[in-house]
Structures are given as C-alpha cells and as structure tokens.
Amino acid sequence: MLLSLKDDQKQHLSVLISQPTNVLQDFCKLALDFLLKGPAPKLYQTAAQKLSVQPEIIRNAVEGLVNLIVESCRHQLSDLDFRDSVLTLGFTEEHQEILEVFYKEKKQEIHDALSRLTLDLPHYYDLEWRFEVQLASRALQHQVTPLITMNLTLETKTALASGSTSRKNVILQTDPTNLVHIAQVLEEALRDSRSQHSRQIQRSFK
C-alpha cells in the first residue's frame, strides 16, 4: 500500500527534495531529536541560517519528516511500500536510501510507543508478594492467620516522551484459598488466549 499525504504536508517535505544527502541526514537527526525531546527552535534557527531560509520552513520540514515516519509506522508499511511511497513523493534514490535506513532503525521503537499511547488505563507493571502469618492483634493475642500480601505496581503511560509514565502501587492481601482460586482464574484466562477460538479470531483479522 502507498502512503497518501495531504498537499500541505507534501509541500513541507518538498524543501528536502532539493537538498544534498548529508543535509537530509541532518534533518533525520533533527526529526529523531523531535521524537525524543520535542521541538528545538534553536537548532532550527541555526539550520535556517546555514541554508538561508526561514526557520518556519525548517520546522515544517522536520515536522513533515516526523509525520511521514509516524504515519508509515501507523500503517505498518513494509520496507518496499515505504520505498515506493518515498519515491512517489519525489525523493531521489539516494534520499530514499537514507530515509529507509532511518525508518528501519526507528520503526520498532515508534511502533511500541504508538501502541502504548492508545489506552490510559493503568497497565500491569510488576507484582511482588510475600507470605506472612498474623500471630497476634490487640484484640486477639494468639492466632495463626496466614496472609499473602502483594504489592501490585500499575503503570499509566500517557505520551511518547518517557518522563510522563506514572506508577502506582496498590497494596493488597489475600488468604491461601483465595490465592489458589485467583491463580487458577488467571491461568485459565491465559490459556484462553491460546485456544482455537482466539486463534481463529486472530487469523480472521489479519
């Protein structure tokens, strides 16, 4: 499949087509910085001075490049599809090679980030448990109450940049009978994703 971009997006990218390969390489670096740290106007300023164009144009070009990569990841373009898409945008063969290398390198990373982005419900992150026996309380000084105390760490990821994940600890406890039951229920859940039915669904949606 070919990626179809809007006209103004194409226009933003068109600046790059006329540039030599090393400049395009620099733009790839700028795009990567954008992905990791967000926009950096100072760098755009210096780039604009070097190329003697408006900083605005540089920024648009960087954002256009980022958009191109992210959209490609979003549709999970194969390398071949990506090459064709880039060529239809008017890039030369050399340009295309550089972009392809960049795309291949960052594809997995961006895809992971995108898949995380979707749901802001807390995600399972870790579980620690310990077995303890309650031997006495103020009201009952001789008792043997086995308990399993658990620390469930949940993670909420909200954006691409790594700083915005928030972790929450939930302290829970249970008794052996319930523990066995819960373990069984969850194991059953896990088995169910490998069942014939689930596999059929997975196949039918591919």
């Binding site: 898949s115 309380s137 949940l154 008794d175 819960i182 969850l186 859940a189 169910d192």
Partner: protein, 193 residues
C-alpha cells in the same frame, strides 16, 4: 491472662452464692454470651437489676471481661477452672458452668475478636475479559490481545466490595500468572512442611 482489681472483685462477687442466686448466675452467663457473639442487648439482665442492681451490673461487666480476656489470650479451659476455684472462690458447680460456656463458645468468641483491627484490602475474587484489539487512534493495525483484569477486594472501611482494575498484554499476564503460581507453590510447600 490478668484481670484488674475491680473486675476480679466483680468475679468474686459472681462466685459467691449469697450475692448472686443460681438462677441469676445462669441468666447472666447466657446474656453475656449473647452480647458478645450475637451482639444483642441483654434485656433480661435489666430485669434482674430490680434488686441489688449494682451487684448485677458489676457481675455482668466482670463476666463479659472474663470471657473476652480468656478468649483473647487463648486460655486453656482447665487452667481457667483452676483459677476460678482457687482465686475467685467459685464452687465446683459454678466454675464448671462458666468454663463450660467458655469451652463451647471459645472459637466464636475468638472469631468475634478477630473482626477488630485494620487490614489492607483483601482480594476475594478475580474476573477478566479478553479483548482482541483491532485498531486504535494511533495505530492502524494492532492485532494483539488485551486483558482487562479485575481484582475484587473487601476493605475494612466500607462493607461493600470494591475492585482494582488494570490492563495486561499476553506477556504481562504470563508474568503475573508465573508470580502467582510461585506464591501458590510456596504456600503449598509451607503446607507440607
């Protein structure tokens, strides 16, 4: 098990046949057990109070304290009967009656005492849904299973069931299950120690 001076005095009063009649003694014991185990107000005791109200009230408090302290310290019925006979001047019949009541209701008393205290939320059940994620706002093709896991918990503050919800991918659930199974295995090991 130790009783303070006032309660010991009350218990001694309860043991003396001149102060408390046999009938009154039985009623006091029944009322005390009812009050602790079932949480009922003792109406028949207030009827008893018409004569010697102060003595009845003192004995009632003493028998309540005695039962609770004995259960709280998991006291042995035989030792208790010795103590009653020697330190509180009970006769054999009354001591047998009181210890008998204690023996009969000991676990219930302890269960009632175990309700007092604070605890972390207690998981009592788990439920799950298995979703197949087809498409999201940021990805055209996802194609992965997502579990929504829900732990049902009981907590001390309120009487109702609340829950902890979270998402899991297949791998994360595998991790969770392994950890749970590890815990189960540990508990089983302890059981077979």
């Amino acid at each position: 098990m130790e009783l303070c001076v006032d309660i010991a005095a009350g218990l001694r009063l309860l043991g003396s046949p001149t102060a408390i009649t046999e009938d009154c003694f039985t009623k006091l014991l029944d009322a005390a057990i009812c009050a602790i185990v079932d949480g009922q107000k003792a109406t028949n005791v207030s009827q008893l109070c018409n004569s010697k109200g102060d003595a009845i009230k003192e004995c009632y408090a003493a028998v309540l304290s005695f039962l609770i302290e004995a259960a709280r310290h998991d006291a042995d019925p035989d030792t208790l009967s010795d103590t009653l006979l020697q330190d509180y001047n009970f006769n054999a019949q009354r001591s047998e009656k009181l210890v008998g009541i204690y023996r009969q209701h000991k676990t219930k008393l302890q269960a009632a005492l175990s309700h007092i205290g604070t605890n972390a939320p207690h998981i009592i059940d788990a439920s799950w849904t298995l979703d197949y994620c087809v498409k999201t706002t940021s990805l055209e093709q996802v194609g992965s299973f997502i579990y929504l896991i829900q732990f049902h918990t009981e907590s001390c503050e309120e009487d109702c069931v609340s829950s902890v919800k979270f998402l899991c991918t297949q791998e994360e659930l595998q991790d969770l299950v392994w950890k749970m199974r590890d815990a189960v295995r540990h508990v089983e090991k302890i059981a077979n120690m």
